[in-house]
């Protein structure tokens, strides 16, 4: 089988964003569908590739890399030669999200060609994954977080993760670009949530690298330990590994990092070897399915958990092929009061991750990624012709 074409189809979708405590008015944004075609009719698909999971379409310049240089690499080659392309793209310094899109489209292609979901090609491990509810940042007052956590608990979530206050002053409810974090408010938020949900709900915390000093990170970490939080994610910027080594040494709460550091498995191996990651983290736009599965192997060998970042179809396929002892949770979100997470995007018949009352999400069993695509919607909303 040979690749004959790579196409990226941009199309418009509605989006209601949530920002700084409020649901915004609906707007229209661009989603992208990447397609790889072959001489034998097999096709592979991937939605998104920019930003959060498979939710955000690629930009025009990113599309140009795919339909230019990357298409040229693929055409005439066997679409099952993923490992060859993966190495080629890393050496060629292709942006991580774009090489990830190619990798995932090829996984979808092979799994569709054989009529199985991707996780059964990787080697199936489980049929469902425990989810956690992952909040938007700046969701409101500590009491708003507490009420939301309780609502999530009532829905079935057994684990709730707080993204606290970034570049936003929770006192005034105003944007605060000069002040990336407000640790006293972050602590108050964690306390309010713990008080509301009781001792037994799993809670985690991700200030997304906004603590600019080791001391801020340490003070909040000690409080999280006191409150019995499960993990402490990405407190400081991830360009410096030394402060993470120190934090992992000085705190007992597991430090979950790097979250967004570039360099996929290469960076993350280094962090583990240096003792900077009590738990590690990667996502499907930092090496694709191939990168995440390699990372799970590294984490398993090291005895370090690898918690997959973000939501989406590819995440679930990866989790379906990994043990809960290595990759325990699925990140369901981002959530906030008033955000409609459970209605599918109009280009899909179903969301990837309906959650049951026990707090589990079932790994999609459709061939490939598991998309049920509404082709009519896509055709009717193409913005490239």
């Amino acid at each position: 089988m040979k690749v004959t074409d790579l196409q990226v189809i941009p199309f418009s979708i509605p989006r209601k964003a949530f920002r700084n405590g409020k649901c915004l008015e609906a707007t229209t944004v661009t989603q992208t569908l990447t397609k790889i075609l072959t001489d034998q009719g097999a096709e592979g698909y991937y939605f998104g590739g920019h930003g959060h999971g498979d939710q955000d379409g690629m930009t025009a310049d990113q599309i140009n890399v795919l339909t230019g240089r990357l298409k040229q690499m693929l055409v005439g080659h066997d679409p099952f030669d993923r490992e060859k392309f993966w190495h080629w793209m890393w050496v060629a310094n292709i942006p991580e999200n774009l090489l990830s899109v190619v990798d995932m489209t090829l996984w979808d292609l092979q799994a569709r060609a054989f009529g199985v979901p991707v996780h059964k090609l990787l080697g199936g491990c489980r049929e469902r994954v425990r989810a956690y509810g992952s909040t938007f940042p700046n969701m409101g007052s500590p009491e708003d977080y507490a009420a939301h956590a309780l609502a999530c608990k009532a829905e079935g979530y057994t684990h709730y993760k707080i993204h606290p206050y970034y570049f936003w002053d929770p006192e005034t409810g105003q944007s605060d670009p000069g002040r990336p974090s407000h640790i006293e408010w972050d602590i108050r938020c964690c306390q309010a949530v713990r008080d509301a949900v009781g001792d037994h709900m799993v809670l985690s915390f991700d200030p997304w690298g906004t603590y600019r000093t080791y001391e801020d990170a340490f003070i909040v970490g000690r409080e999280l330990e006191r409150l019995g939080f499960y993990w402490y994610e990405h407190p400081m910027n991830e360009y410096r590994v030394g402060p993470y080594e120190k934090l992992a040494r000085e705190l007992t709460i597991p430090i979950l990092s790097p979250e967004i550091a570039a360099g996929s498995i290469y960076t993350r191996f280094d962090w583990i070897a240096r003792g900077a990651s009590d738990m590690t983290r990667i996502d499907i736009l930092r090496g694709g399915i191939t990168g995440c599965i390699k990372m799970a192997a590294i984490a398993e060998a090291a005895g370090v958990k690898c918690e997959m970042h973000m939501a989406g179809f590819a995440n679930l396929q990866i989790l379906g092929a990994t043990s809960e002892d290595v990759c325990t949770y699925y990140e369901r979100g981002l959530l906030a009061p008033g955000v409609d997470y459970d209605t599918p995007q109009p280009y899909l018949e179903e969301i990837c991750d309906p959650m049951d009352k026990a707090g589990y999400v079932t790994v999609p069993t459709e061939p490939g990624m598991g998309y049920k695509i509404n082709w009519d919607y896509i055709e009717a909303h193409r913005i490239d012709r």
Copy 2:
């Protein structure tokens, strides 16, 4: 699809062993074929599982574990759930070679079901692999090694690996159980081979853990450096990691270890993290294809080569799915003067690894592992009925 049965078929094959400088008389030994069957007719096969690669059949007690406990684990489950079984078997402390047999039979099954060679499921990376000629130990005098190395060079080999003298006195040509190694002879052997083949042939050296002191290992290593050898494999026993850390620090020649240490990826991650492995090594009976592919990912992330141990179909499938920058060579052997390596075993139509004049072996492209099985031979030589 569900597994319905696991069978192990023992059958007799001729074997001409080579030991202590001589080809022995032909004898008959037992090979085993492991079969996993499904309710949809798909079947998977694996030959061997004991000792060297896929060449040695399992013993009766090993067969009992497979047809007892492991069959019970598999029946009724999806044969594509390899990752689930892999974790189960490690936790259950199933012997590494037996869990490897299950894993590889399941890979063969899926690849056959989809009509592709295993490496195309893993993600293809290359079509051919550079081979090295790997000698039997105790092959004769240093001059015998030198002549053999020259013959290998003439055949196309670009890399030659010496297994030197173990438990055998090269002076008397007699077995010498009280003296595991004779380093002065090992050095003489390496010198003779280097002199014979010239400066440009890649040479490696594997005393297979027979050096009982750090000092012996160090002295030989320094001489290998002087002779421009490429790697220095498994000089000391692999139960103690500390001496390997020291040797890797003190010598510049890459230390390739652990070779035979138990514990698959878990042990090997630890060695890399401790700086004890300049290069790492694993084989298909220490975790199956799944274990080797995980190990290649770890090695790639660490920037450490992973040289696959032993010859065989599964090795070639793994190498077909890895980069030469991670797993460079294929071990072709064991070889010695008078050993017929190129005639297939009677249960196979072809050997897995014919080598071309440039010293490359082509990755098999038949579905599954790539076996071309002579079923009539197996049926006629079954020893279980």
